[in-house]
Symmetry: C2
Subunit: 224 residues, 2 copies
Amino acid sequence: MNTPLKIGIIGGTGALGSGLAARWAKAGRYVVIGSRRIESAQATCESIVAGAIEGRDNEAPRVSYGLNVDVARDADVIVVTVPFDQQEKTLASIREFVQGKIVIDTTVPLLPPKVGTVNVPESGAAAVSAKCILGEDVKVFSAFHNVAADKLQSLEELDCDVLVFGDDKDDRPVVISLVEDAGMRGFYGGGLRNSIAAEALTSVLITINRQLKCQTGIRLVGMH
Amino acid sequence: MNTPLKIGIIGGTGALGSGLAARWAKAGRYVVIGSRRIESAQATCESIVAGAIEGRDNEAPRVSYGLNVDVARDADVIVVTVPFDQQEKTLASIREFVQGKIVIDTTVPLLPPKVGTVNVPESGAAAVSAKCILGEDVKVFSAFHNVAADKLQSLEELDCDVLVFGDDKDDRPVVISLVEDAGMRGFYGGGLRNSIAAEALTSVLITINRQLKCQTGIRLVGMH
């Protein structure tokens, strides 16, 4: 039997990171919550364990916690869920520990307070920036840009799809299966450069949400 | 009674332009097909009249045709459906005739043969380029980036939404109502700068279509 993949979530105490962690724990995945503050990581871990036990009959959820750098060193797949203004610093801090691994970056390049206006980073996409920081040997993907974090946390059924981007063809199935274990359909949308489509779409959805007073997402249609 | 709006379609003989024209004609709109070649415009006009009559009981569809520049001069709302490499030249040629009017640009900045890879124009979006070429007094919008032109032409029911972008708040309802008359829901996604989200998404959908051998579109969900 293979050792199960350890999924490390950098910035795992935020709404997106803890929401994904809770869903993966519930699906039987082995999750490690990372934070810059160990107390925050522990608190999030405990609340996820409490929530995840409800949905599972016999097996305790496998969730642990640690400092971001320790989680990056320990985990097999690293998911980065930090705000845009923390992206560069955070990725630089874990760079040496993620070489050769899969890193899923979720960064949307929002520039507060104008979060409803699209910002295209100079690199072309936040995902391209991540690759530049982490280096050629890291299998960088991006995903989860358009998921409403509140809905993710509630563990209710999610009515949205996830676009996945990355240049490493062989590792796509690992990322798509993580999307599916979080309760959504995942579609491979092309290389990292294409990630700007999903990143920019977040500002468009924010603009629409403000008008309609709701939390919209997208679904792909026309697949028949 | 108000004179009905005349909708002029620049590049109206292509798949997107003629598809929109056919749907608007069927919905009772007054449409003028524009082309660089008068014979092409006439042929498209005749086939739309033939197709649109079927769906209408008492009233003949109002469709006419002309050269692009004449259509731009004559129409109240101008819809530009030309390939990316024709955008600049075409808009420059109609510039003087569209001052003060609504222009809906549908340009997706695809760079063949790599149409599955996102291309972000230097201006930030093809819609921003359109505004730069046409000038401050033109009410520039962008829309219809993610609609499968084949499905549009078939007049079958369309299972996709349209994102609309533009900086002129007062004229949004005109554009949204045109989207609705073409048989889709329209959502205002922000200013012209945000248009890159929908423009880039086209390359992502092309990438997905190649994998799944289908024609995908997007729908907004989560509106309840």
